[in-house]
Structures are given as C-alpha cells and as structure tokens.
Symmetry: C2
Subunit: 346 residues, 2 copies
C-alpha cells in the first residue's frame, strides 16, 4: 500500500584482516579451517598439532580450502607461533580437560592471542575449578585479551539461548531445555562416544569409568543459574542408555534390538530441593525429529522450538562466529553470555 | 544410572543497589516500574514527566508497588534529577522520534546516566540520522556510559533474536522473520495504533499521513544486515490492512465484516534487487496462533518458532533486563546486538 526505498550505508569495517592461529587439527579443528575459508575478514597465520604426521607440513596440504600453499607450516608447540598481531585469535580444539590444557591457554594469552576453545570445561570453570579460573582470568586481563570456551553444547543450545530467551520475561522461575540429536547423522567418533552398538552392560561399565558422558551440562546449568540469579544450590546428573527396540541401520551394519543407540543424559539443578533447571540431552542413532526445545517457566513464560542446530557443524560455526565477538568483549575469562551477539558473519 | 551432587557457589554480586530514574510515566513506563518492583538489585531514585497532573506527586502514588512512599517526587525536567551515582540508569519511555528526544538523551548522558529507551528510532539510528547518532555516541563515550534503544520490536524479536540464531550457521544468505500478534490481547492504544475498527479508506488515509505505521522494521533490518554483513543495498516497506471477513468481537463491541482488524506490514531488504531480509509483522485483532518465526536461509539453515513473546509485557521486560547488561557493555551509542546477554534477572 505504501513503499519506500533507501540505500543502506556500507558496513563500516576495519579492512585489516584478523590473524587466526589453529591449535589442534582434529575433525573439529579442520572443520573450522574450512568454514574460515569462506570468510573474508580472517586469515590463518599459524597452526599447532602434536601429531608427528602433521608437524612440518604445509597447512594447505592438511586442511581444505582455508589457506594458500606456502603460507603456514604446522608446528608442534604454541611457543613456535610467535607473538600475536593486534586482535589475533587462537582457535583451540584439543581436549575437554581444562586442567590438562590450561598451560596451553596461558601460553596463548601471554603471547597476546584472544583464545576461543571447544574445551567443554572452559565453558564455565568458575564453580568447578575456581583457582584455575581466577588464574586464567587474571592472565587474560593482564594481556588485554579474552578467553572463551564455546561450541554448540556447551556454549549455545543449553546456556546462551535460554539466557537470551529469558530476556523477554518479567520473571523467570525455571528453565527447561530438551535437545534431541540423531547421532546417525553425526561423525563416527560421536557415535562411539555415545555408546552406539554396545550392550547395556558395556554401556554401564563405560558410564562408571566416566568414558561415556557428554561434558558440559552442569557448566551450562551454572551459566543459566548465574545469568538469571536463580539461586540453585545443587544438581543431579544421570546418564542412561537409549536402547533399540528393533534393528536400527547404522552405516554398513545394524544395531540389534536390545543394544544401545546412544545416551539419555539429564541434569536437574535445584534450589533447596525444588527443581529449577532441567537440561535433557538425547543423542542416539535414529532419534526422530532432532530439535532444541527451550521452555521458560516464567512470567509470562515462553516456548522456543528450533530445528537445524546440527552438532558438529554448529560447534564449528559457533566458534567461527565468536571470533569477531571476542574482539569487542571485555578482557578476561568470559562465558558465552558475557560476549555481545555481533559481529558474527565477517 | 549415575548421579552427583555439588553445591553451586553463591552468585557474586555487587550488593550496592543500582539507581534507576524513570523518564516518562505512560503505560510502558509504569509497567517497567511495576516490573522493577520485583527486582532486588535496582532502586528507583528519580522520575520525570511533563504531565502537570503528575509533577510534584509522590512516585509511590503514581505507580504500583515499585517504590516506597516518600522516596521519589516526580519532577518536570531531566535537570531536576541531579547527577547519577555510579552505574545509575535512566529508563526513557517518551516518544518514537529521535530528533525530538535527543536533547533529553544528551542531558541524561551528560549527567552520567546509562540510558535505555523505548524510542524506536534510537534502536539503530546510524543509517537514518548519522550525524545525530555520531553526536549521541560521542556524548555517551565522553561520559563513559551506554545509550541503548530497545524493546521487543525493535530490540528483540526482529533483530536481536535472528542475529543470535545466525551464530549457529556456517554462512547466512538471508533472514526471514514473521511476527504474528493478536492485538485483541493488547492495550487499547495499541489497537487504535493498528487501526482496528477503521474502514479501509480511513486506514489508507492514516497510512498516507504516516499515523498508522509500526516504527522499527527498517532499523531491525539494518541491524541484521550489519551484524551478518549481508550487503543489502535498499529496502521496500509496505503497509496493508488486515480486514475482517466476519464480525470480530473486541472489548464491549464488535468489528464488522469489511472493517480493519489491524496492520500487515512488510519490509524486504535487498542486495542488488535480490531479496535478502524479509521482516513481516501482522498485528491485528483476533489473529490466531500468535508466534515469532525466524527462518535462516543459510548453511545448514534453521527454523525457530517461539510462542509467548507478548508485545507490551515483553517490551517492558526487555528494557528491565537490559539494565544490568548496559553496565558491562562498552560505552557509546549501542545497538542490541552489541551488549552482552547477561546479567539480566537481577
């Protein structure tokens, strides 16, 4: 009925490319390299891996389409990278145990790199490893850079999104997240990680040994609890198998009835015995209708249903889309809810 | 199958309350006062309104449950507020025209207040009023405070949320948002604003006069364009009536068939003629299934459906939940995508 046309001004951009160093060239590290190949704002300027088969190689021969030949040679330690140019970011994809990788973070921060890592325990170490968190925070601040642990989960679907959605509420009493992922669509290591094909006894043994457990749900619960000041006083975590009730095809083979398809993991955080935060992750072969449902129990309350948050791809994307965001965040050890939403697609 | 319990550490909070001054005591301003009454972190310390019936009154007699009697008396100009204590925030709900309210913003910023406003044109004035935006930005930076325009739309459903959702994508080619609101559930001024009950001729006249138009869609499109670097070169905005095809009850009366139920407003931003961003707002009496749908055309793409983003309540909530967030943002004129997601529920 009425119409108007008006030009958009060009986006004001610092045209100097931002240097990225890659620490860890496993599946996720390589996926991030490939994703960065599409982006005009970033340039890969260094790479580190401990694998002797990779050290000394040209990064262009290791990873697809992300860097020109002759630009970057893989080294075996962070000390081989040299100091950061202003704004440079290290992308770290090499381990879930914060205690083991903390010295690497310290070295990267001291060299002046903003550091973004898929280390799940880094997503929110303030409660679990307070001294180490404080040391990393101090080191990042001293060097004027940001240290961030992120990915799709932890880092996005069970912490950042619920906090973002809660901003529309007058008050929040509780938060529920239900994430359903079809592990059949994911990479093989993930299928192994969730126990696909095991007997229930084997599954129980691995849970008891701690080798079957998705890391990050308590970290996410604590991000929600702190952001929304929900006053949680404790949590319980349970890990159960999803069991095949008929034969389920997987790759070239089949998972027989009675065998394990994957994990059903639940964290319930409570305040004085009352459940407040419920994070429910189902990651198994053949699960129908993969989705992320966030339910805010609040005033007026809200339900969000997202389809399309694929695990591996989303982890790499969230990391890549954080590289511009850490540039404009306050220096220090940060959780995902503490960095701005923009700029992301540079 | 396995369980663990571990206490959460108490949330580390600055226990000093943050002072809030209220500029504009209309319906949204009062709703914000009521919402703030539930929050422990904030204390109302000042109020301004030009209405002679309010000036000189005790704020406790004007607004519900937000402040104790004898604490705050309503004054008629910002200069009557005095200087801000550290971290103090002004909540401004008094007008959509940035040009008209800019002197008020300047005065608040100079007095040291972070300023959060529902002024729709403030949500992203960089393209439409670049000189004024630059002046406000410089003033905010000089005083070390943040100036932010927000609300549910613009400020959340059509800009912040799509940017947040895009962070899960390897690449984004386009963004579509469809917001459906039942104006029958909203306050009376909103029903008038969308033209409920008018003839189609009356509606057309008011659109031509510019009195029927939801302000903010181009501002939201520009936030998305800039955050995701989509390179839009122009946009078109159309405003059509939603027309009753049968009698629709409203309050004590009825809207007859053929009369207007509300607006159907569309902004399509394009890059060299190709549509890239599509923001579609339907706000009319009796619309079924109120919802916010965000579709990201990207790699791998995503669809998000939210139910529960009620207009008035969400605007007041988004403003209240921004007060903690501006404290930790970089000083200056900011758009919603530039402030962190936390802390919000203090």
């Amino acid at each position: 009925m009425t119409s108007a046309t008006m030009p958009f001004p060009p986006v004001d951009q610092n045209t100097e490319p931002i240097g990225v160093v890659h620490v860890g060239l496993g599946p996720i590290g390589r996926q991030i390299l490939a994703f960065l190949g599409d982006r005009k704002r970033y340039r890969s300027v260094g790479a580190v891996d401990i694998d002797p088969d990779l050290v000394g190689k040209d990064l262009a021969d290791v990873a697809e389409a992300a860097v020109s030949p002759g630009q970057v040679r893989v080294v075996d330690t962070v000390s081989g990278l040299g100091s950061a140019t202003p704004g440079a970011v290290a992308v770290h994809c090499a381990g879930s145990s914060l205690e083991k990788v903390a010295p690497t973070f310290m070295a990267l921060l001291e060299a002046g790199y903003h550091t973004v890592s898929t280390c799940e325990e880094l997503s929110n170490p303030w409660a679990t490893q307070p001294q180490l968190a404080a040391d990393l925070d101090a080191c990042a601040r001293r060097n004027g850079v940001v240290l961030l642990g992120t990915g799709v989960n932890p880092g996005y679907s069970m912490d950042y999104l619920p906090v973002v959605l809660a901003a529309s509420q007058r008050a929040v009493r509780g938060v529920q997240v239900h994430r359903v992922q079809d592990a059949g669509l994911r990479r093989l290591p993930l299928q192994r990680k969730v126990g696909a094909g095991l007997t229930t006894d084997e599954f129980a043994d691995r849970v008891a040994q701690g080798t079957i457990r998705h890391v990050g749900l308590p970290e996410s619960a604590r991000i929600i609890d702190r952001a929304l000041d929900l006053g949680c006083t404790g949590y319980e975590e349970t890990i159960d198998p999803v069991i095949a009730d008929s034969a389920v095809p997987l790759g070239a083979g089949t998972i027989e009835p009675g065998r394990v398809l994957g994990i059903d993991q639940l964290v319930v955080a409570s305040r004085d015995g009352e459940p407040v935060i419920r994070l429910h992750l189902q990651m198994a072969v053949g699960l129908a209708d993969p989705r992320d449902v966030v339910t805010i129990d609040g005033d007026p309350g809200l339900e969000s249903v997202i389809r399309g948050l694929h695990g591996d791809s989303a982890t790499a994307a969230v990391v890549v889309n954080s590289l511009g965001r850490v540039q404009v965040a306050r220096p220090g050890l940060r959780t995902v809810d503490e960095i701005p939403a923009s700029p992301i697609n540079l």
